[in-house]
Amino acid sequence: MTNVANIVTNGIAPPVYLVDASSGSPLTNTDGVVLLASGAVTANSNSVLLTNYVARGVKVYIAPGNFGSGASTITVTIQGFDPVSASYFTILQSASLTASTFAVLTVYPGIAVTANVSASDVLPRSWRVSWQASSWGTGGSTLGIAAALIL
């Protein structure tokens, strides 16, 4: 099966049938996209740059676990990327999150807007999430992040 990235790069229309996240899913919603495998986080960082082939929006699932001693709250930010200038820009940032408190961020055009929870906006082709804390605490804080892309 030809990879979607190659198809689009070469200017050929996307295929009718595509079925999984590893190759892109033009005509189906996709979830289970792991942005950060759950584990101890000790420093601010970000996911790899992801490619949104055909979706309009995204839900990002944030699952904090136990926080290290002395850890601050954390925030997670959905960022778009402009390849022309190599600049990242914020699409939606979470509220300050505490240990073991599941949170969902939603970006989709036309939805109700709630500060730090949902944005009526579109997801660009290139995007990522970043996670920040002023302190990740002794031994780090557990965090996992996943996403669902919505057509």
Binding site: M1, T2, V4, V8, G11, I12, A13, P14, P15, V16, Y17, L18, V19, D20, S23, G24, P26, N52, Y53, V54, A55, R56, G80, F81, D82, P83, V84, S85, S87, F89, P109, G110, I111, V113, A119, S120, D121, V122, L123, P124, R125, S126
Partner: protein, 166 residues
């Protein structure tokens, strides 16, 4: 589908998948491309696109008007104006639609004047939150362009990139 070469023979094997199946192994599915009739010819269907260089980074002192662009099957657009050396210049970005019948352009979204180094994001998409000079809840017509108007004759260095969204 597999393509193998044995001796002097080229073998093409295409698996047939019954309609109504979900979760079929990707390598077993024959892809076919969609086309959309535009009233005269048939266009390819595109996915989300980015890395569209409207203006490469450079110092400029005059108004820049992009040639007409064709939006084949996208609903909206994100445009990024990245000013890296504003100096004493001033630039204002505008996303225009065009009526090919009259040849007239109309503004879909006009940004505020940018006078400092900054990354500025402009979005046109139906249903989006409307923010003056930043985002518009409307659709991108088939013919569009970006224009960057120089507010004065002083040099400013910037790039403009675009992303088309389904």
């Amino acid at each position: 589908m597999s393509l193998t070469f044995a001796g002097n023979q080229l073998n093409l094997v295409v698996a047939q998948i019954a309609a109504g199946s979900d979760g079929v192994t990707a390598t077993n599915v024959l892809e076919s491309a969609m086309g959309v009739y535009n009233g005269a010819t048939v266009d390819q269907v595109r996915g989300n696109l980015d890395n569209i260089t409207v203006l490469a980074s450079a110092a400029r002192t005059t108004t820049q008007t992009q040639a007409d662009q064709t939006n084949y099957n996208h609903r909206g657009i994100i445009v990024v104006l990245d000013v890296t050396n504003a100096g004493t210049g001033s630039v204002t970005l505008e996303i225009d639609g065009k009526d090919p019948v009259s040849g007239k352009y109309f503004a879909l979204l006009t940004g505020a004047a940018v006078v400092s180094n900054s990354t500025n994001v402009y979005t046109v998409y139906p249903g989006n939150t409307v923010t003056s000079n930043v985002s518009a809840s409307t659709v991108l017509p088939r013919t569009w362009r970006v224009k960057v108007t120089a507010g004065n004759s002083n040099s400013a260095t910037y790039s403009v990139g675009a992303m088309l969204i389904l």
